[in-house]
């Protein structure tokens, strides 16, 4: 489970690092994407978000879109990715990040139980807001799967309270108005949303979207309990196709966060 693992890191005074990797992304032979997954875990991730690629990822920017397209072209599909994860022991909790239609098509209950059987303990579904969450959350709860809810800077306080109430695993603070992708500077909204969430919950609050450098991660972690690093990791994976190179990047984030 994510929440205990992240909670332990926070309790010991540390900050959480959750990298994102596109499931099924082709890597250089003989590595495959699960090799990269394990390398990222060894490099100091506290948990890993595995993207299950969707044809129309509206929350994603060009880097993750490209990775999704490549993975799809290479034959990636939800059942296949969950199946590949079944044999993998990364040593850290895993979450899937994907879009509503893939889960709906699979079947809410069947997806939750298949996740659970594959050893994936949490889901992040960015196009299922609170109002539409019941069918999924009920299925997830029944299967013992955590649902990470997203909280955006546009939400009024009253809405944030309802979101954190429903969230498990962690609360995903969307760092800026926009889609995934690195930015030159940390958006001013990142610390603000983290602080607003910290004021209303004891659950781990991790900021994602728009965090591309270790310095930005450290800066936002003055307020937040941790960070999700998506496009920076995927960009490195696309450019190098090398588990070692991706692990090196993740290791850099780990070291920066540990140094504070």
């Amino acid at each position: 489970m994510l929440q205990p693992a992240l909670g332990a890191r926070i309790a010991s005074g540390g900050r959480c690092l959750v990298p994102y990797l596109t499931g099924g992304l082709p890597q250089a032979d003989p590595a495959d994407w699960t090799t990269t997954l394990c390398a990222i875990a060894d490099a100091g991730a506290d948990a890993i978000e595995v993207g299950i690629p969707f044809s129309d990822p509206v929350m994603d920017g060009p880097v993750i879109q490209q990775a999704s397209d490549e993975a799809l072209a290479a034959g990636a599909n939800p059942a296949g990715i969950l199946d590949e994860l079944t044999g993998v022991d990364a040593g850290v909790p895993l979450a899937v990040m994907t879009y509503a239609n893939l889960v709906y098509r699979f079947g809410w209950e069947r997806f939750a139980s298949t996740m659970s059987a594959s050893g994936v303990g949490a889901a992040i579904l960015p196009d299922i807001p609170l109002e539409e969450a019941d069918p999924w959350c009920n299925a997830a709860d029944a299967a013992g799967v955590e649902t990470v809810m997203l909280a955006a800077p546009t939400a009024p306080d009253e809405r944030l309270e309802r979101i954190v109430e429903r969230a498990s695993g962690f609360v995903y603070a969307v760092g800026l108005l926009g889609i995934t992708g690195e930015r030159d500077e940390l958006a001013s909204s990142a610390k603000v949303i983290a602080a607003r969430l910290k004021a209303v919950t004891d659950k781990p609050v991790l900021v994602g979207v728009g965090i591309g450098s270790p310095a930005q991660a450290v800066e936002v972690c003055e307020v937040a309990d941790g960070v999700v690093i998506g496009s920076a990791v995927v960009r490195r994976a696309l450019q190098t196709r090398s588990p070692e190179a991706v692990a090196e990047l993740v290791g850099g984030f780990r070291a920066a966060l540990d140094a504070g």
């Binding site: 129309d56 509206v58 920017g61 397209d69 893939l102 807001p129 909280a151 546009t154 939400a155 108005l177």
Partner: protein, 386 residues
């Protein structure tokens, strides 16, 4: 065709499946629309624009030569005569006024054939708003004329370069823009699709077509039509005209989809672009790429109310192939001196194919747009015939 339920559903379809960032904006939009729609001065301002600027009411034309040729009495609701050349202007004037009322000075839109983009660029010019239109790269090539019109009107046209590089991808990019600019932008969605309140709001802005057509039919023929036919991409022109007749159970409602983009015909329920609706998708839930000669119908989904009308049996949805559409495009041009939009030619193609079954009936076709935008594309298709 009434209001959706409080979750934005028509039967089991609809809803709001969007990134959390947009939820407050959708709620604000719903409230703003409710207020405006109940507000006399807003309605008068919109009616005045529809009349003095867009040219409403649009004519109802009885097609004597076409009717003789088919053995079916055909009348056309002439949305092609609206300013900018299609039904799209009805919805856009409504949304642009609403955006102004909400204090949003930037309009974001997606477009397939370019008609919605042109309408949005037009309204933005009229009301002094900034305008950005996303359009698939493939569609930009086949609808060059409309790309130029949008730019001339002062809009920025941004190519959508992912996926099939058509309408579906333009919608994705417009939604991404809106996620980033929601505080100052209004997403001027071009059909009865997307998250609640769009399907309902856009249908209400197009209701004027159905209201006029009902009255005009009674004036012209003394009775209601037996069948009302309209093409369906997202389904806004169809929803507009259906809304005038849906309460009259003896009137058949027929939506015509392109064979390569038949969401109701070939789709199963799915979730994309903020809505649950019939969707063309593969076994894993990946959205399939539609393929149609008409850019405006090249869409793998359909508005949720149409899915509900199909499920409840109130309307039926038929598909026609590109070559039938080309024949209908030529037929209307030759018999009536009206060059239809390729989209609208889908509705005519169905009437032409079903002429035996429709013999002796009165059929009202929503001619959603004029064909000027398609002429360059059809010069190639018809090169060896003309």
């Amino acid at each position: 065709m009434g209001e959706p339920d409080p979750t934005g559903r028509f039967g089991r379809f609809g809803g709001r499946f969007v990134p959390e960032t947009l939820m407050p904006a959708l709620m604000e939009l719903e409230q703003a629309f409710r207020d405006a729609w109940a507000d006399g001065p807003f309605r008068s301002e919109l009616d005045k624009l529809l009349c003095d600027y867009a040219g409403r009411p649009s004519a109802l034309t009885e097609c004597h030569r076409l009717s003789a040729e088919l053995g079916v009495r055909v009348l056309l609701k002439r949305e092609d005569l609206n300013h900018t050349g299609s039904h799209k202007i009805n919805n856009v004037l409504g949304q642009a006024l609403l955006a102004k009322r909400m204090g949003k000075a930037r309009l974001v839109a997606e477009t397939g054939a370019g008609q919605h983009g042109v309408a949005t660029a037009t309204a933005a010019a009229l009301l002094g708003q900034e305008c950005v239109v996303y359009m698939g790269e493939v569609d930009m090539a086949r609808q060059e004329l409309n790309v130029f019109r949008m730019r001339l009107l002062g809009a920025e046209v941004v190519p959508a370069t992912s996926g099939s590089r058509t309408l579906k991808d333009a919608v994705n990019d417009a939604m991404r823009d809106w996620v980033a600019t929601v505080e100052r932008s209004h997403y001027c969605l071009g059909s009865v699709m997307g998250p609640h309140p769009y399907p309902w709001m856009v249908r209400e802005f197009h209701r004027v077509t159905g209201t006029e057509a009902r009255r005009q039919m009674l004036d012209a023929t003394g009775s209601l039509p037996d069948v009302v036919v309209a093409c369906v991409g997202g389904g806004s022109n169809a929803a507009g005209i259906f809304s005038g007749f849906s309460e009259s159970r003896d009137v058949d409602l027929v939506g015509v989809e392109p064979a390569g983009g038949a969401a109701v015909g070939h789709g199963i329920p799915g979730i994309v672009h903020g809505m649950m609706s019939y969707l063309m998708q593969d076994e894993f839930g990946q959205v399939e790429e539609a393929e149609s000669i008409s850019a405006g119908l090249d869409y793998p989904g359909v508005g949720p109310e149409h899915s509900h009308l199909a499920d409840s049996g109130r309307a039926r949805y038929e598909a026609v192939a590109d070559d039938e559409v080309v024949e209908a495009f030529v037929l209307l041009s030759r018999t009536e001196g009206i060059i239809p939009a390729l989209e609208s030619a889908h509705a005519l193609a169905w009437v032409s194919r079903e002429r035996a079954a429709l013999a002796g009936k009165t059929v009202l076709v929503n001619l959603s747009g004029r064909g000027d935008k398609d002429v360059a594309q059809m010069m190639d298709v018809l090169a060896d015939r003309l």
